[in-house]
């Protein structure tokens, strides 16, 4: 982190996908063990162009196009990682990871425990998630709950370009397997100054987006921005926390915030039942019940497979739905 402070000064405006591309380039140049693996990440630079230019500049031994098998991709990356490499896998869409669930659970998340810490599996899986761009089915998944229930891995989700740089560098350098979630809708949503230097952020800390006294909103990715919009539309004082680390959960700041405000709304695109919000709600109720002035509400997608494009807008939480939850919870009296 010292390194970071040094060079934070020199900034450049980037969008999310630009920051990811810049961060990958930074690590490829810094550490020869870093190798990108995936399909369509080579000459074409990925279907979202996140790896654009990297194949040309670092060559086929650092940016490796593989055959079309998600399970083979994770399995090979694990094999490389336990031999000292630092593979960064592009999983084109989170929904494709299901094909690799075997390697994901059996080896990626397990070899470290299974060998009693003898083998490290420092693989970073970059994957896109989330709705909004209206592509095909299973290209808008937000199934991070599957990941949160799986031990031995870290799961992080940046909500801004600068965060993406800091978290991706930290993910690649982590000795743990890390799933790095990039929201497709946010790739080109907005730009902000991104530190050009060696800038890392802690992988297991949430971020206070805005302070408030009346109610706490917990969100990540795209939903953080909708929460800010919704908060702007109420005259209540809303505290917004960007979870940022989905695994492990940074529980203490969440509990402290709810103990302060006494009210909480959790927002995510994922399906509700057994979704990410369930765990957060359960923790709050287990450890901050005495402070609660109202039930915790979950603003989420519904318990169905991500729907057809025409009904998608009604499925996804937005500022309006979040605002309604804020009103309901703020208006509640025992």
């Amino acid at each position: 982190m010292n390194k970071a402070s040094e060079s934070v000064d020199t900034m450049q405006e980037m969008n999310l996908v630009g920051a990811v591309n810049h961060a990958l380039r930074f690590e490829l140049a810094r550490d020869p063990r870093v190798r990108l693996m995936g399909y369509d990440i080579g000459p074409i630079g990925g279907v979202f162009r996140a790896t654009e230019g990297l194949y040309d500049d670092f060559g086929p031994e650092r940016v490796i196009d593989t055959p079309l098998s998600e399970n083979g991709l994770i399995g090979a990356a694990v094999g490389m990682a336990i031999r000292g490499e630092r593979p960064v896998v592009e999983m084109q869409f989170l929904g494709f990871l299901y094909n690799a669930w075997g390697q994901f659970i059996y080896t990626l998340s397990n070899l470290h425990q299974k060998t009693g810490g003898l083998l490290d599996v420092p693989v970073t899986i970059r994957t896109t998630f989330g709705g909004g761009i209206k592509p095909l089915p299973f290209h808008s998944e937000s199934t991070e709950a599957y990941l949160m229930h799986s031990p031995g891995i870290r799961v992080v989700c940046p909500s801004t370009p600068a965060e993406a740089k800091g978290l991706l560098l930290a993910s690649i350098r982590s000795d743990d397997p890390v799933v790095f979630m990039e929201h497709t809708r946010m790739y080109r949503a907005f730009r902000e100054p991104v530190p050009l230097g060696d800038y890392t952020l802690p992988l297991d800390r949430c971020r206070l987006v805005q302070e408030g006294d009346d109610i706490t909103v917990i969100a990540w990715g795209q939903m953080v921005h909708h929460a800010v919009t919704a908060a702007g539309a109420t005259d209540a004082s809303v505290e917004i926390i960007d979870l940022r680390s989905l695994a492990p959960l940074d529980v203490e700041p969440l509990l402290d915030s709810v103990k302060k405000t006494g009210r909480c709304v959790i927002v995510h695109e994922a399906r509700r039942t057994a979704g990410p919000g369930a765990e957060i709600s359960a923790l709050i109720n287990e450890y901050a019940l005495e402070w609660l002035k109202a039930p915790v509400k979950r603003v989420t997608g519904f318990d169905i497979h991500f729907p057809d494009n025409q009904t998608e807008d009604a499925y996804l939480p937005g500022p309006v739905r979040i605002g309604a939850a804020l009103d309901a919870v703020l208006g509640y009296q025992f």
Binding site: Y39, D40, G42, P43, I44, G45, V47, F48, D65, T66, P67, L68, S69, N71, G72, G95, F96, Y98, N99, K134, L136, P137, F138, H139, R272, T273, A294, P295, K297, V299, F302, D303, I304, P307, D308, N309, Q310, T311, E312, D313, A314, Y315, V320, R321, A324, A325, D327, A328, V329, G331, Y332
Partner: protein, 309 residues
């Protein structure tokens, strides 16, 4: 697309097809209503499309097409299961599955063909080798010289044909279908062709391949070849040619317009087709939340579980 068409011609009423997304011609051959596909492409829910674009029973396609596998390769084990059902019930029907050459790298392809070999299922799996998997060339997909030879791993027969030669495709597909129908089991067919266009709008093939390559394959355009053949045989006269194209175009435009004409899918449709019967408390509750939201009410005011009053 000669591949889809040649195989379509080898199908019989009662057969089943598990396509990828490259067999439009197969669908058209068997009168799968294009307007429905169009309405689906526009993001409408299938229930909604069926309601607004009814198909009279007598117009229903005689070959059943299931929606193409967005998750590549999953259709292969499904097709093998479908064929197994036919076999175990003594039905002389055949199941067809299409995959791209890139999809042969998925575990599903391996699972499906191995099951097909062991269970001797009446199915035909067609690998449409168009040389590219988005930006990944065939040489990067497998070290095998051909995709046809992958059948050897499963003890299955296979054929490799010119995918731009309609008759070659038909002959191979016919032989394979006959084998399956006569209880001799599955066949793998590799149809060699080329993806002349970009994979999709976000693709830009100029980045990873030469124009000459595409240009060369243009000269092998199956459509022109078929036309030239029909003309040489005198089956197709110049004036008919014009007429046919016109008819095709007008019908195409008509169907596309009918598809476009479908009104937007109502949001609540998303809750229609999940569990049979009671979808359960939580889904019922979420449905009520959406209804409230759409009615301008607050969906989050139920704090007792007794529902939204």
């Amino acid at each position: 697309e000669a591949v889809g068409l040649g195989v379509a011609a080898a199908m019989k009423a009662g057969d089943w097809c598990f396509p990828s997304y490259r067999q439009l011609s197969t669908h058209l051959y068997w009168n799968v209503p294009l307007e429905r596909a169009m309405a689906g492409l526009m993001g409408n829910a299938p229930e909604h499309v069926r309601e607004h674009l009814p198909v009279a029973p007598e117009d229903a396609p005689e070959v059943t097409f299931i929606p193409y596998a967005v998750f590549l390769g999953t259709n292969v084990p499904n097709a093998v299961g479908s064929a197994l059902a036919d076999k175990l019930n003594g039905r002389r029907q055949v199941t067809f599955a299409f995959v791209g050459e890139g999809t042969t790298s998925e575990g599903d392809f391996h699972d499906g063909l191995n099951f097909a070999g062991v269970l001797e299922t009446p199915c035909v799996v067609i690998v449409q080798n168009n040389q590219w998997c988005i930006s990944v060339p065939s040489a990067r997909q497998t070290a095998a010289a051909t995709y046809a030879q992958k059948a050897i791993a499963y003890g299955l027969p296979s054929e490799r044909v010119d995918g731009n030669d309609l008759f070659a495709v038909y002959d191979a597909a016919k032989r394979a279908a006959d084998r399956a129908r006569s209880g001799k089991g599955a066949t793998l067919i590799e149809a060699v062709t080329y993806r002349v266009l970009d994979h999709n709008t976000s693709d830009s093939s100029a980045v990873y391949r030469t124009e000459d390559e595409a240009a060369y394959w243009q000269t092998l355009d199956p459509l022109e070849r078929f036309e030239r053949y029909l003309t040489s045989k005198g089956v197709l006269k110049e004036q008919d040619r014009e007429a046919i194209w016109k008819r095709a175009e007008t019908e195409l435009r008509e169907r596309i317009d009918r598809g476009r004409g479908v009104p937007p899918t109502p949001p609540q449709t998303m809750f229609l087709s999940h569990l049979h019967g009671d979808p359960g408390w939580s889904v019922r509750h979420q449905q009520a939340e959406l209804d409230a939201e759409l009615a301008g009410a607050n969906p989050f005011v139920d704090f007792t579980g007794e529902g939204l009053q």
